[in-house]
């Protein structure tokens, strides 16, 4: 799996006070033959958020644009992304007031 922090992919932040929240968000895209996201969103992928001890904290499906968002607490988290025939894990570090925005290739 590759991620690309320079190309934020999560849903719109309109109406959300980023300073008060610890946001982990992003977009899940299909990987092309070269392993790089080919731009096709994966809707209805399931994203699990696990805490630093690997305990389940939350889960949601991606929207039709492949996007997701969690309101977490500061710290280290693991994302588990599942779709038919695919599963990837990624560790992220989240900070209050600073957006963590991911592009996940599946």
């Amino acid at each position: 799996m590759k991620t690309c922090g320079a190309t934020p992919g999560g849903p719109s932040l309109d109406g959300i006070d980023i300073a008060k929240q610890t946001i982990i968000q992003g977009v899940v895209l299909k990987a092309g033959d070269d392993g790089v996201p080919n731009g096709t969103p994966v809707g209805s992928a399931h994203i699990r958020l696990l805490d630093r001890d690997g305990e389940f904290t939350a889960e949601l499906p991606t929207n039709s644009q492949g996007q997701f968002r969690f309101f977490a607490a500061p710290g280290v988290w693991t994302l588990v992304v599942q779709a038919p025939g695919a599963r990837v894990e990624q560790q992220v570090s989240a900070t209050q007031g600073i957006l963590t925005d991911l592009v996940i290739s599946l």
């Binding site: 399931h46 805490d51 038919p84």
Partner: protein
């Protein structure tokens, strides 16, 4: 009250999609998922719009429940199959709800929407037309529903199982992490509650673990299954999931879902609260 009478597999649902005695209902907090695609012949209930009173904080009345089921074409002898997203949280809540109003044959699709999707099984957008019935509900069965006073009385006496995530239990988060952390109530948990997150009862694909694993989970965490048990979470839907595990899959008697849960308890004046793991 057993896995055989309360749970069905995706294969069972596939074989019974056109069974006239079977009514499949998707229950969710976000019914736009149903609009995008659902199991063939299924109808949908919205967790809030259809199942909450709206004026006061409570289940809908018996009369409204009868009207909802009647207009949905659910008869007293229907086999109701519930499923939904969020690892079946709202579907298990609806299961508990159907039992509160005494429906005889209600079952849950193991793994819900998620397992169905991961299997790449078919969804349709066609909404079925159902013939209305005259459904007659029973009076509420409060033997499976806990209210705040009995929860307070249970502190230090009965099993209290907090099924939220460790971060919510300890007071680090006020809500599941896919929701904004802006709830008004204080953070923490009911003293003497054991934190056994609902998720520990499920496999990663959303299906339930085996009975042996489930028994070990609760007993290993110090729950005395011979004692009465009250399960709670934030709004009563994840605890309905754990209620389902204990009461339906494991057949444990005297398990109640406290659907007031932390949004009620954490707002009460003067009740004891604990924080930390």
């Amino acid at each position: 009250m057993s896995r055989e009478t309360s749970l069905v597999s995706a294969d069972w649902v596939t074989e019974n999609i056109n069974n006239p005695k079977v009514v499949i209902v998707e229950v969710d907090e976000d019914t736009t998922l149903y609009d995008q695609g659902h199991i063939e012949n299924s109808i949908t209930f919205h967790w809030r719009d259809d199942l909450q009173d709206g004026l006061i904080r409570d289940l809908i009345s018996k009369e409204k429940f009868e009207a909802l089921l009647s207009k949905s074409g659910i008869a007293n002898d229907s086999t109701v199959i519930l499923y939904g997203g969020n690892n079946n949280w709202f579907a298990t809540y609806a299961f508990w709800y159907f039992k509160v109003y005494g429906h005889q044959d209600v079952r849950l699709l193991d793994g819900g929407r998620k397992r169905w999707e991961l299997d790449a099984r078919a969804f349709v957008t066609t909404v079925p037309t159902r013939t209305a019935t005259r459904y007659v509900a029973k009076d509420r069965d409060n033997s499976i529903r806990a209210y705040r006073d009995e929860v307070i009385a249970a502190i230090g006496n009965l099993n209290i199982v907090d099924v939220r995530s460790p971060a919510e239990f300890s007071g680090e988060l006020a809500a599941p992490a896919h929701l904004p952390q802006e709830q008004g109530q204080i953070k923490g948990h009911i003293p003497t509650a054991k934190n056994i997150p609902w998720s520990k009862a499920a496999n990663e694909d959303g299906t339930f673990k085996t009975d042996t694993e489930l028994k070990e989970l609760y007993i290993g965490a110090g729950v005395d299954l011979a004692k009465d048990t009250i399960a709670y979470c934030r709004i009563g839907e994840r605890s309905a999931f754990s209620w389902f595990v204990l009461h339906e899959l494991l057949g444990v008697a005297n398990v109640k879902n406290y659907d007031g849960s932390w949004t009620e308890y954490g707002s009460l004046v003067g009740v004891p609260v604990a924080v930390g793991a």
